[in-house]
């Protein structure tokens, strides 16, 4: 049944969401579903039934005459040339780049957060501690920059219209589905680390107290790393699918113009603030709290800046 749904979605992908077209899609979907159910009841396998239904569907050009969408079908063929086609190999390459990049950026951010841990571990010797702090920070920033560069060639994925053929879209959906469990584990472990991060510092006293304090940063760092790895990969799947289904400007359309400006500079501003506050006060043990607060604030801002009509389908 899913095969039929995606087939139909794919057929109607580039048509405007007018009432006429949606009506046609619904009714055709209903006919296909009825036929599929009957074939299944006759004992055909899922694949056989879907195959028969799809082979007997017909073609959109035939509908165009009666729906007044012949122009659209023509435009669709033109749009096919201005939308960037992505092959299965492109998608695999892109996902590999995203995975590599997410690991690099994740490790980088973790090291940046752990720089304070390095400082604490070596705090018997002031000079050593400062060196450890900056070395860790430096490697972390390096990783982030390097990780970001890995996606340099793929910037168009966020900006341009993409065209996926049917098999490729199915491949992405499968991959996304397979990743789901891993995603849930990453997020769950990350949240657990966040919840438990204060425990060592609270329990351990005496000689190893500074190590326990350092472990707090390590745990938060690991958690953030997991969030980044899970989020970037999940986001990439959604973007590939979403972009192909709805055309470009997926994100931009959801927010008001002011919102877009604020949100685009949000994380760089927070990073800046983090370092300013931390270096001025030298309270690295508390200043990291800016991250969870910032994440929560971001969530609120995204809701505030959301366009009211973005829930409804836009047709042009």
């Amino acid at each position: 049944m899913d095969t039929i749904r995606s087939y139909l979605d794919n057929m109607f992908m580039n048509l405007p969401h007018t009432e006429q077209v949606m009506k046609a899609k619904n009714e055709l979907g209903q006919m296909m579903e009825d036929k599929y159910n009957e074939l299944r009841a006759e004992g055909k396998s899922d694949n056989e039934a879907a195959g028969i239904v799809i082979s007997e569907f017909g073609n959109l050009e035939e509908l165009a005459e009666s729906l007044g969408i012949d122009k659209q079908v023509a435009i669709r063929n033109e749009a096919a040339s201005d939308a960037r086609p992505l092959t299965l190999q492109d998608v695999r390459d892109y996902m590999n780049a995203v995975i590599h990049s997410s690991v690099m950026i994740g490790v980088g951010v973790m090291l940046v957060i752990c720089a304070s841990a390095a400082y604490l571990i070596f705090n018997q010797n002031e000079r050593m501690a400062i060196i450890a702090f900056f070395v860790t920070l430096g490697i972390g920033v390096g990783c982030i920059v390097f990780g970001g560069m890995q996606l340099g060639d793929w910037g168009f994925i966020n900006k341009e219209k993409l065209q996926l053929d049917f098999g490729t879209a199915e491949y992405i959906k499968d991959e996304k589905h397979n990743f789901h469990t891993q995603y849930a584990v990453y997020i769950a472990v990350g949240v657990m680390l966040c919840v438990l991060c204060c425990v060592p510092a609270a329990v351990v006293e005496g000689r190893f107290a500074h190590i326990a304090q350092a472990s707090l940063f390590l745990m938060v760092g690991l958690a953030v790393m997991l969030f980044i790895m899970a989020g970037m990969r999940q986001g990439a799947y959604d973007r590939l699918l979403g972009n192909a289904a709805r055309g470009s400007e997926v994100d931009a359309k959801c927010y008001t113009p002011t919102g877009q400006k604020v949100l685009s500079v949000y994380w760089s501003t927070i990073t800046c603030l983090y370092f300013c506050i931390s270096f001025l006060t030298f309270r690295w043990d508390i200043s990291w709290l800016i991250w969870p607060i910032a994440a929560a604030a971001r969530g609120i801002l995204e809701i505030v800046f959301r366009k009211e009509d973005s829930g409804g389908r836009q047709s042009s």
């Binding site: 055709l28 209903q30 017909g58 073609n59």
Partner: protein
């Protein structure tokens, strides 16, 4: 002997559908299934062909659509079609046209050639 040519049958899809609607109001898949059984699987109408015929005939006022829950398959809503008076007139015209066509063409058919 290949299957039925879609060029030839195109002009008579409307007639086939109207014939079925003369018996009782019906919906997409039921009509498609009846066409298959009555033609003994010799003609299987494509979904897009059927849908465009519905729209064309509705615009011409030969049929009317209404929503109703189908008796079979758990009472899901279907778009049903019923034939109008204009549709009946059109159907009779098409029948006459076919008889004429059949009469003319059969004069040129030589089974032994």
């Amino acid at each position: 002997m290949s299957g039925i040519s879609s060029d030839v049958i195109r002009g008579y899809n409307d007639t086939i559908i109207l014939y079925l609607l003369l018996q009782e109001p019906s919906y997409g898949y039921e009509i498609s299934r009846k066409i298959r059984t009555i033609s003994e699987e010799k003609y299987i109408i494509k979904e897009t062909t059927l849908y465009s015929a519905f729209r064309r005939m509705e615009n011409n006022g030969y049929i009317e659509s209404f929503n109703q829950e189908a008796e079979a398959s758990g009472g899901k809503k279907r778009t049903y079609y019923r034939i109008t008076e204009k549709g009946r007139v059109y159907y009779r015209e098409k029948c006459a046209e076919w008889n004429l066509t059949k009469d003319v063409i059969s004069r040129f058919i030589n089974e032994e050639a």
